[in-house]
């Protein structure tokens, strides 16, 4: 199993947000995590990637056979975990090219490989840019600085393409995107999908799942996965809303 989360409990400022979550993801799978606002979807992404301030009070996160809960965020990234941020961060003065090259070489260093030669790197940039239909001029600008919302999200997918992670977590990548941008993002993800990697797509709405078809859909409620199903579950949620899940969950509890 690529990712195996066992009985995960996460606190922010002493308040428990994730309350005993279990999730297993195999290579080649696409998992969608859905749920109403404030149920812990983004917290889950932060806990997997090791964001500061998200304290894991109990449970384990196994990735490629290692429990990663004590690892630094950059080590987890180099191990193959990628997060497409809900709100990509601006870094003034640091060009995209420079940023990407530093990231790729950090990963190569981690793998014991020499830095990527300049020519090869630039070729790779060109290829991946086409994949997400990103303008050349964007990669000459500072990281995310002055990018529109859609450009920022496409830039996240571009970085994913460059870094070729084994596990990509897409945190609300569809929020703030118009339908054309959504299609471009989905196209990029579908082209990157292989039998070797896996995707966890965090989303509030079903519409992204029209374009990236999930193998499993999980409903997160009150810090736990309360329901798991196939892609039809997403359609059911779209039609019926989350209320029935809440009622069912509360009833069971």
């Amino acid at each position: 199993m690529l990712l195996n989360i066992k009985n995960l409990h996460v606190e922010i400022d002493g308040k428990e947000i994730i309350k005993g979550l279990n999730l297993g993801v195999n290579q080649g799978e696409v998992h969608a995590i859905m749920g109403p606002n404030g149920t812990g979807k983004s917290t889950l992404a932060a806990a997997i990637t090791g964001r500061e301030g998200y304290e894991i009070t109990a449970g384990e996160i196994w990735f490629k056979g290692t429990n990663i809960v004590d690892m630094e965020p950059d080590e987890r990234a180099n191990l193959g975990i990628f997060l497409s941020f809900q709100y990509p961060v601006e870094i003034p003065g640091v060009s995209m090219t420079n940023f990407m090259r530093t990231a790729i070489n950090a990963k190569r260093e981690y793998q014991g490989l020499p830095p990527v030669p300049a020519g090869e790197f630039l070729k790779m940039m060109e290829e991946k840019k086409n994949l997400v239909e990103i303008h050349s001029k964007l990669t000459n600008r500072s990281v995310n600085e002055g990018f529109s919302g859609g450009e920022k999200k496409r830039n996240e997918i571009f970085q994913m393409a460059m870094l070729e992670p084994s596990l990509a977590i897409l945190d609300e990548t569809d929020s703030g995107l118009d339908i054309d941008a959504l299609k471009v993002v989905a196209k990029g993800v579908n082209q990157l999908k292989s039998g070797e990697n896996a995707f966890v797509i965090i989303t509030h709405y079903q519409r992204l799942l029209d374009y990236i078809v999930p193998d499993f859909v999980h409903v997160l409620f009150d810090g736990k996965i309360v329901k798991t199903g196939g892609k039809n579950l997403a359609l059911e949620l779209e039609a019926k809303g989350y209320e029935w899940i809440k009622e069912q969950h509360l009833f069971e509890a």
Binding site: T49, G50, R51, E52, E72, P73, D74, A77, N78, F82, L83, F85, P88, V89, E90, I91, P92, G93, V94, S95, T97, N98, F99, R101, T102, A103, N105, A106, K107, Y110, P115, A118, F121, L122, S142, V143, Q159, L163
Partner: protein, 482 residues
Amino acid sequence: MEVQQNDNILEQVTTSDYKYGFYTDIENDMAPPGLNEDIVRFISAKKEEPEWMLEFRLKAFRHWQNLSEPGWAHIQYPKINYQDIIYYAAPKKKSLASLDEVDPELLDTFNKLGISLEEQKMLSGVAVDAVIDSVSVKTTFQDTLAKHGIIFCSFSEAVREHPELVKKYMGSVVPYTDNYFAALNSAVFSDGSFCFIPAGVRCPLELSTYFRINAANTGQFERTLIVAESGSYVSYMEGCTAPQRDENQLHAAIVEIVAMDHAEVKYSTVQNWYPGDKEGKGGVYNFVTKRGLCKGRSSKISWTQVETGSSITWKYPSCVLMGDNSVGEFYSVAVTNNFQQADTGTKMIHIGKNTRSTVISKGISAGRSNNAYRGLVKILPGAVNARNFSQCDSLLLGDQCGAHTFPYIEAKNETSIVEHEATTSKISEDQLFYCNQRGIDTEKAIGLIVNGYAKEVLNKLPMEFAVEAQKLLAITLEGSVG
């Protein structure tokens, strides 16, 4: 190209400590420690100077004796005993006609510095004047420059060969009465560079001076004088290093620039004197007076500095905008770490009509250091339509350091517009996490973000310097991650 550079820079981050801290065993000709009129005479005699030069030195010395050390800057250091310092130290072998005659030890020094004179000559087309301790040891490319009528030589040589020019301009921008350290320098300066660009000539090469303090207990007191005649252009670079020593060393230099009508002088500095160790022991006191006079109409003087070294920096490269429509610029990155202290900035004195000045300063403080921007913008009554824009930002890394901004603005003309902006911030945790998530560790991420922060200034440096400067930023901040 950019990709390549940054890559190298980040590799440099992993090497530790001050890498220029070696000491070269060169035989030195030294004066006994201490300062009195006899020492001043000794220096002058050693340099076989004409009478007028000695008179200038003695006047400066007598004036200095009546001054007291300034105390207004935001810096603290134990009292300097001016009688403990050696005011003259020169590598013994002198007067070299070709590189073959240069002391092999000295050549080795340059190689360690990464400035093989020969290589510089061949590859980069940069003309270099190297000053070790007090004496200018080698000026390259003199012949090529001579074809354009450009004079680029050691200050001593200029005193001998071009006395009329030296007499006319020396002290015309920074008089010996200017301040305590300027008076001291005027009395005991040992050598330096002189540069004269004739009217209408665009200097085909980047001119460059490397300064190195080598001998123990010595002070370095060099002087640079640049004169740009009407319509000329020159870009001048200055670099410096010193060995690692436990005691503090004093560096008190003077740089004077004169720009005539439509002339333009670009002066770039990468200052990397030994900053002292992690406990704050040792390091260079860098007390420097740098000033440019935009004498002619539409003249322009631009200062760019990257300050990473010295235990204490006290310097305010300034522009006196006398000619109508003249332009002054100041771009600065000052990084302090461990126990370093910097009090640096600029003075823009607007005298002529339609004069313009721009000040961009980026201060980065880490460790237990203190980093202050101090600047004066003065608009005199005749400076009709004068404009100034200043932006002074500070970045704090760690909670034991200080970042300070002390701008002084004096306006005496109602048609002037002066704007000053400043912000103080730290690297956001979001930015660090974003980099971490892409696999970049925190130290590298800080290097990346700091270089991005300083980019506006680094872009103003000539290419050769920009690469070195970026490396230095990363090295200086090493180990500053809490």
